[in-house]
């Protein structure tokens, strides 16, 4: 090998070494397992169940979370629906008003898909019904007033919260109610309620986050 050719080879080797170093530090492509990307994507997606786990524990069941007295709401709906609407929450342009309420009552009737109550301190009339079948709607999410739609870039995430809350009610609250409810028994409840037409608001259809049967 001539000295000139030797120098050329050394030049090539040096260039390849530099290129190898560059690719090592800044790889133009990276091979990863599909399972790892699936895991990353799942992590990036909104996890409604995890969100609700924390929201339920820290806020909905927190004794400091404000809840309207059910008796007061019932009385206002009978006598002054406009004043009742002032105490509730509306999402954008909506006809429905949502509330987060607490109260105590005596079981008036138990049927396969609902438990109806006479509120304590109220007239002998069913003014609260707790449905024990599948739970739908946004009574807890919107009634609590604790979640702001403007903070959710994708409204599918905001809506997924309602689904997760309703499933939690079905799994954790309603079985206890179904097991304990009997005519004449006293029940304490906290929950959300949606009111459409105030003229037909009663009985309130409450979606409970907590039921106590003393």
């Amino acid at each position: 090998m001539t000295p000139q050719r030797h120098t050329r080879w050394l030049g090539w080797a040096a260039a390849m070494a530099v290129a190898a170093m560059v690719f090592w530090v800044l790889p133009p492509l990276r091979v990863v397992r599909l399972s790892a990307t699936r895991h990353q994507a799942a992590g990036a997606a909104f996890d409604a169940e995890a969100f609700v786990e924390k929201f339920w524990r820290d806020q909905l069941l927190n004794p400091d979370t404000p809840a309207l007295e059910a008796n007061r709401l019932v009385q206002l709906l009978r006598e002054n629906p406009a004043a009742a609407a002032e105490l509730g929450r509306r999402l954008g342009f909506s006809r429905n008003t949502s509330y987060f309420i607490r109260g105590a009552g005596r079981v008036a009737a138990v049927v396969p898909d609902a438990v109806s109550l006479f509120l304590e301190g109220d007239r002998e009339e069913v003014s609260v019904v707790i449905e024990t079948g599948p739970v739908f709607g946004n009574a807890i999410r919107d009634g609590s007033g604790l979640l702001d739609v403007n903070l959710f870039p994708n409204s599918q995430d905001f809506n997924a919260i309602s689904g997760a809350l309703n499933r939690r009610v079905e799994a954790e609250v309603l079985p206890h109610l179904k097991a304990q409810a009997a005519v004449g028994r006293r029940i304490n409840f906290i929950g959300g309620v949606e009111v459409g037409d105030p003229a037909h608001a009663l009985p309130l259809r409450v979606v409970p986050v907590r039921i106590e049967v003393p």
């Binding site: 342009f93 909506s94 006809r95 429905n96 599918q156 809506n159």
Partner: protein, 329 residues
């Protein structure tokens, strides 16, 4: 006194000209031709009467507020939509009333308009960002379809087979509607979805898709369609197959032809969106912005109401007969 040279004079004149030009450019609410300020109405498609109502109401309301308004049709094509935004930004429109083609893909267009100092107000369809548009006026599709799902169960029962026609898969409305519906119907294991296919919110496409699906699933009890244009296409296919009386069709939008068919007992139900409310609210928000208001809710959901044979007399002309302005406030 120091003498001003020719060069200094030239620099001063050029600087003054630049300042004046910059001032004119920053004043985006003045039309370049000296006419009224211009508002652009960018619509995902005009190949659907519902969107025509949305576009025309937005345009007419902007005009009634003193603006020149132009409608741009994106033809459900994000590339066309991007080209419209380039044109609008370069032409220095004062505001954009926007119905996006894609919840993610349209964000970049809104950001470019924002960077150009043009406020954007989304109508009906959302973008997946809360820091780009000035405000978004959106149908509460999920809740509307929860109510529709509950009515579906009442009408079809807890046993049966059905087909779902989805809208554009890149649009959040498609999934909010589908998820709201399934949040109810999936709770009844006896209700089996035998096929789910996209027909792109398009009537002709829905006709084709339904014709094809009926070949394999001629024994269905119901069809849930993500909008009324697809409900009309599906109904046409059922009519041609002689199954219109045995299959219940459910739509979503509140389009006039579907409301009429509900009154005649041919379509089971729809969800009334309020395109005129959304368009007017968007135009009024743009006007307020151009008058100096800066505080707008990022998302302003508009309630959707269930329209059935029992209450259909209350609805028509893309809203409630007793209230043409707002569903509630």
């Amino acid at each position: 006194m120091k003498r001003i040279t020719f060069f200094q004079t030239l620099v001063a004149v050029v600087a003054a000209a630049l300042v004046l030009t910059a001032c004119k450019k920053s004043s985006s609410d003045a039309s370049p031709d000296g006419g009224p300020p211009r508002i652009a109405v960018v619509i995902s498609t005009l190949n659907n009467p519902w969107f025509v109502v949305l576009a025309e109401t937005a345009r007419d309301h902007a005009k009634s507020l003193g603006y020149a308004a132009t409608v741009f049709d994106s033809q459900n094509d994000p590339a066309k939509e991007a080209a419209h935004f380039e044109n609008i930004n370069a032409s220095r429109y004062a505001a954009i009333l926007f119905n996006p083609t894609d919840a993610d893909g349209s964000i970049a267009n809104v950001r470019k308009a924002k960077a150009a100092g043009i406020p954007v107000f989304c109508m009906d369809r959302e973008i997946n960002a809360t820091d780009a548009a000035t405000s978004q006026i959106l149908s509460d599709n999920y809740s509307g379809c929860v109510a529709l799902g509950q009515y579906f169960v009442k009408q079809v029962g807890t046993q049966g087979k059905y087909i779902e026609l989805l809208g554009l898969v890149g649009d959040n409305n498609t999934w909010n509607r589908s998820k709201g519906f399934h949040s109810v119907v999936d709770r009844y294991p006896g209700l089996k979805m035998v096929a789910q296919q996209s027909a792109d919110f398009d009537r002709a496409r829905a006709l084709e898709v339904t014709e094809s699906l009926l070949q394999a699933h001629g024994d269905i009890d119901a069809l849930f369609c993500g909008n009324d244009a697809m409900a009309m296409g599906a109904y046409q296919a059922l009519l041609a197959a002689g199954k219109a009386d045995q299959v219940k069709v459910f739509g979503f939008d509140g389009a006039d032809d579907v409301v009429r068919l509900i009154a005649e007992g041919k379509i089971a139900a729809t969800g009334m969106q309020f395109p005129k409310v959304m368009a007017r609210t968007a135009a009024e928000s743009a006007h307020k912005y151009l008058m100096g208001e800066r505080h707008f809710p990022q998302k302003n959901p508009v309630a959707v109401e269930l329209v059935t044979r029992e209450n259909v007399s209350r609805y028509g002309d893309y809203g409630r007969r007793d209230d043409t302005s707002k569903p509630a406030q």
